[in-house]
């Protein structure tokens, strides 16, 4: 084998940049990888870790993905690769807390970083959700990030640079992972099994460039089923009477109490559905995400104007915003249902 074995898919330009750096042994000591969830940030970080520790003699094919170093990193057994993640709290709900704890950083990170590599050549510290760190935590990193000890790479993962201190951004080499083009997502899931061709297409579009999500959806069939179920109930709520709408809102708010992230994602689905309506209303067929729903949407469209759709979308965004601000979920959903335009379907 004579090519690099990157696990990261679809980011050719970035991989070329990183590859060149590996080849010249000029990897930066700190990286900041940005991109939306599921686009491949963690995979890239592990790729860098592998490349920096790979045992293959020829630098051009690092990481090989086959030597024990690469494999151990892949499996998460390597003792020189550290991941600082959002802490899973101990309480009954098992929710993720929103930040990395101060203790983790001060007691663990700052002490660990001054030790020498144990089994590999380079120690790699990966900090996920760096943009969720509070200002004290980001500040702790500053000095270390600027001049870490030798043989150490620090990799920060974040969804964007906006919520990071600019002093942090300026100290890192920035690798921005753009959403992967739909074509490349299609290629990546080409060989996976799907029930229909349309479903495959839909997954590729729904992924919106989050290649990791698309692959997960292709493996786990419940992802698609859940989406279909949700869209069914959404459609009947939109077309239904006020009672049905309130029933829908009751269901959503119940789920919100159980797991709010699921509901936020569902609201996102709702937004894509309405967005598709918007696209359809201006006769733009190519951009539609939920392809399997086109027929129903066309029916609904008969009684809606573009302005109404735009308004509805902004109302949903307000609702999402309110949910995240801890407004009572039932109130938000009921209110949203009242604000959505009335759809009268005569043909049904």
């Amino acid at each position: 084998m004579n090519t690099r074995n990157w696990a990261t898919l679809g980011h050719d330009l970035i991989m070329e940049v990183v590859g060149k750096a590996v080849e010249q042994d000029r990897l930066s000591h700190s990286f900041l990888i940005t991109g939306v969830e599921g686009v491949g940030k963690m995979t890239l970080a592990l790729d860098i870790a592998k490349a920096a520790n790979c045992e293959t003699l020829e630098v051009i094919i690092r990481p090989c993905g086959e030597c024990s170093q690469c494999r151990r990193i892949e499996l998460g057994h390597h003792t020189d690769v550290f991941t600082y993640d959002l802490e899973r709290r101990e309480d009954a709900s098992g929710n993720l807390s929103t930040t990395i704890t101060m203790e983790q950083l001060r007691e663990d990170f700052l002490k660990q970083i001054h030790r020498k590599p144990f089994e590999g050549r380079t120690r790699v510290f990966i900090i996920t959700s760096a943009d969720l760190m509070r200002s004290e935590q980001s500040n702790i990193l500053l000095k270390t990030l600027e001049e870490p000890p030798d043989d150490t790479i620090i990799i920060l993962l974040a969804s964007g640079t906006e919520n990071l201190l600019e002093t942090i951004v300026s100290r890192c080499q920035l690798l921005q992972l753009k959403p992967v083009s739909t074509r490349k997502v299609m290629e990546a899931i080409e060989n996976r099994e799907f029930s229909t061709e349309i479903e495959k297409k839909e997954i590729a579009r729904l992924s919106r460039g989050r290649i990791g999500w698309a692959i997960r959806a292709s493996i786990d069939s419940t992802v698609v089923e859940d989406i279909e179920k949700y869209l069914d109930s959404l459609e009947s709520a939109v077309m239904g009477s006020l009672e049905e709408k309130f029933e829908f809102s009751r269901m959503v708010s119940m789920r919100f109490r159980e797991d709010r992230r699921v509901v936020i994602h569902d609201m996102d689905l709702m937004l894509t559905w309405w967005r598709d309506l918007l696209m359809l209303s201006v006769d733009n067929d190519e951009g539609i995400v939920n392809i399997s729903r086109i027929e129903t949407m066309k029916l609904i469209l008969n009684s809606l104007t573009t302005t109404q759709i735009v308004k509805a979308i902004s109302q949903i965004r307000i609702a999402v915003d309110n949910l995240q601000k801890n407004v009572s979920p039932r109130l938000v959903c009921d209110n949203l249902m009242l604000k959505l335009p009335v759809v009268a379907i005569s043909a049904l």
Binding site: V17, E166, S170, S181, L271, N284, G287, K339
Partner: protein, 549 residues
């Protein structure tokens, strides 16, 4: 692993500092004339040289053979600092040692004499992160440290440093480095690294670095690693995520032609190529700013090349400056926060720009009773009316206007002279839109009472013939205003304000409520929260009854 550029090229002498001549000059004089302060505070944006200067200063103080205030970088003491093994330079990370215990440790040890050099230098970097207690513990030591000690504090965030700390230090403000200076420095680096980078490319890097040398060196490093020399501007585009400008220009063409469908297909094309929504947004903003400058006759930096510029010329000919501004405003409102579906805000903005569809920002608090009829939104709704069905306006309008003159179920107004009928509604609208300006103008006016405050209590404003009439709900307000108006100075001040804001020097008139029958001047539908809430949910008032009956 080799050292990255920004560490390799850290200034070792004051002469190497880029773009901070005012600071270098002062410090050099201080070292030469041996008039050092015992405490320095370096502040300024990232990547301007604070930490570097602090280290240079530490070396310069102790150097065995300094020349013109600069360290020689070859004597033992300088070398020990450069290699990070000096015992007399103590660099503290203020962010991870921010507690009072850490500072106590410092104040204890600072009294020991330096081990090998003249001065013991403490650099506290990121000092803004110290806790309040830690700052206070430092105060006494900072004011009068032992003669052998020099403290240098460095921070990007000087507002967080207590004033008592700042006043004990000699403060130096580091400036953003100019594009020209960064450019020159990058050229020097390229020459000594023996790489060939296009001067235009370096200029692009310098511009993108927004005044931070470290950012620039980081970018250069990335470029050097990724591409073979010679490196040109085009190489950097991919690296800096500057996409080809053809598609954004095409998108803008569609916008100027008001072709929503076309705009969406261009946007789709950009999306399926794999591009970040924020980038498209920035691209569009840059484009609009470029066009605005072009339209107003300025000559902005040409980034679009010949072919695109010609297309943009065509767009410019067909678009008015107010349309451009309108679009810029819409783009400026786009908020990507909390948006998982990252293209949606952009798509909404396009719909708003092209169709004039009215969107509400997620942050607006709704149904909040507004004291002044919100007429700003009216023009937008009018604009949208060509595609809004008339029904829609009623069913979705959610803001209940408490006392708008245009309100459908207007409350019985307090008794007003018959002259009212002659009032021109256009003028009245003008008052309402400029009402806040007028109030602001009158903020400082008044003898016993503040006129602006009194006027705020008025319930309606009218232009009646040649006078400006205020209708009051409560007679006490009206009486107070009457009292104030008796002073001719106050009266003329109000009239002057009216002249300035409304363009006419109106007479001032007060219309009192006719007391008795209705105590508040407003029917229950306007005052009760419950009724308003019900209305915002779509209820209409069928009948009103008095409580007693």
């Amino acid at each position: 692993m080799s050292e990255v550029l920004y560490r390799k090229w850290r200034p070792g002498r004051l002469a190497d500092l880029v773009g901070q001549d005012h600071i270098a000059q002062t410090l050099r004089q201080a070292v030469i004339s041996d008039r050092l302060s015992h405490a320095y505070l370096f502040c300024g944006p990232r990547g301007t040289g604070k930490t570097s200067t602090a280290r240079v200063l530490a070396k310069a103080l102790n150097c065995l053979d300094p020349t013109e205030g600069d360290p020689d970088n070859i004597c033992d003491l300088c070398m020990s600092v450069n290699e990070g093994r000096s015992l007399d330079l103590i660099e503290i990370d203020g962010a991870s040692n921010r507690r009072i215990a850490d500072i106590r440790d410092l104040t204890e040890k600072i009294h020991y004499s330096p081990s090998e050099s003249k001065f013991k230098v403490y650099i506290i970097d990121e000092v803004h992160m110290l806790t309040q207690e830690a700052f206070n513990a430092l105060l006494k030591t900072l004011e009068e440290p032992p003669p052998h000690a020099v403290l240098i504090l460095a921070t990007t965030d000087v507002q967080k440093v207590p004033l008592t700390i700042i006043s004990r230090c000699q403060r130096f403000d580091f400036r953003r480095v100019s594009v020209q200076d960064i450019h020159e420095k990058l050229q020097i680096i390229c020459e000594s690294e023996d790489v060939d980078v296009d001067s235009e490319a370096l200029r692009l890097i310098a511009r993108k670095a927004t005044g931070s040398l470290r950012d620039a060196e980081n970018l250069l490093e990335q470029a050097l690693v990724s591409f073979e020399s010679p490196i040109t501007k085009e190489h950097l585009w991919g690296l800096l995520n500057i996409s080809d400008n053809t598609l954004p220009v095409e998108l803008f063409e569609r916008i100027s032609q008001r072709d929503l469908k076309g705009a969406y297909s261009v946007l789709n094309q950009i999306i399926s190529d794999g591009s970040d929504a924020r980038h498209i947004h920035t691209n569009l903003l840059e484009l609009v700013s470029y066009l605005l400058q072009k339209k107003s006759g300025a000559s902005p930096d040409d980034e679009y090349g010949e072919a695109l510029s010609r297309r943009l010329e065509k767009v410019l000919a067909n678009i008015s400056i107010s349309d451009l501004i309108g679009f810029a405003v819409i783009l400026g409102k786009v908020d990507f926060q909390n948006s998982l579906n990252s293209y949606l805000p952009l798509e909404l903005a396009l719909a708003e720009a092209i169709e004039g569809a009215y969107t509400e920002a997620p942050t607006t608090v709704e149904s909040k009773p507004v004291a002044i009829p919100k007429l700003q939104s009216a023009p937008q709704q009018v604009k949208a009316s060509n595609m809004t069905k008339p029904v829609d306006k009623k069913s979705t309008s959610s803001v209940v206007k408490p006392a708008g003159p245009t309100n459908g179920n207007a409350p019985p107004k307090p008794k007003v002279d018959t002259k009212t009928d002659t009032s021109v509604s256009g003028q009245n609208n003008e008052i309402d839109t400029k009402w806040n300006e007028l109030l602001r103008e009158l903020r400082q006016v008044g003898n016993r009472f503040n006129i602006a405050a009194l006027l705020r209590g008025s319930y309606e404003r009218k232009i009646i013939d040649n006078s400006l009439a205020f209708v009051f709900q409560h007679s006490s307000h009206a009486e107070r205003l009457q009292g104030e108006l008796e002073d001719p100075l106050v009266r003329s001040q109000i009239m002057d304000a009216a002249l300035k804001i409304l363009g006419t020097r109106y007479e001032i008139e007060i219309i009192q409520p006719d007391n008795g029958s209705s105590n508040s001047g407003r029917p229950a539908s306007q005052t009760s929260h419950l009724v308003r809430a019900a209305q915002s949910l779509g209820a209409t008032i069928i009948e009103e009854r008095n409580k007693q009956s």
